[in-house]
């Protein structure tokens, strides 16, 4: 997958299905927060 395509898909998703885009953002936040906790615990 080209990264430009990924960006375009995310923008399309945000525009056409904001609820799904919101869910994706929540998932990304959850992952990054978990990683931050794991790294901080080192």
């Amino acid at each position: 997958m080209e990264i430009e395509q990924l960006i375009a898909d995310l923008e399309t998703l945000k525009e056409n299905d904001p609820e799904k885009y919101l869910e994706l953002l929540k998932q990304l936040n959850s992952i990054v927060e978990d990683l931050n906790k794991d790294i901080e615990s080192l």
Binding site: K20, L28, L42
Partner: protein, 220 residues
Amino acid sequence: MGLEDFDKKSLPQQGDAGFATDEMISGLYEGAEPSAEQSSIAAPEVAEPAVDTQSADLDAESAPIAPLTPERHAEILEAIGEEETRLEENLATNREVISAAETRLDAPASEENRLKPLLSRAQIGELYKKTAQKLELVALLGLIGTGASFLTGQITAGGGPMVGMDTDALEKAQHFVEKGQHIAENGLAAGIGVIAIVAIAQSMNWLRRRSQEKARYAAA
């Protein structure tokens, strides 16, 4: 499977088509540091990587979406703004915690103390699994895995090509990482989700690299 199908109840399970197996995941962490020559060697007899561009296609336009009421739409847009802000803050924290951990782990101390608290390979394997389940973008995770691996050039297992990788996949991974870094460095507005994905890949790569230090120390 596209994002329109996103449903936590249908998260991929071990054995599902396209789901990264334990062998694939563990293969990401195994192997010694390759030489530059090794890094450029094509995999002669490896399976195609588990990258299904059809599955990775977010396909946001294909499914009919029930129209939202103006009130609900406004609520969602507000929530999106909050989540994007939260993501920016989390990504800033991500850079800070990695920097702090680097400083802490590299501080003068006994080797044993410095390496003792690092995550085990199995723990990082669990991180990959957890990430896959949360995103439910298994094909995209494949790119994250190869991209993260490419960052340190650790693409071989036991001196041979890593299972599930070939030159084409590595070229794509390199392109993915380079573009992602460009977007992150330039703060392009449209790329917050991609920046997050790249940051996730880099964080996991950092954890993996540190765990390999631990493994080398333990073996010494």
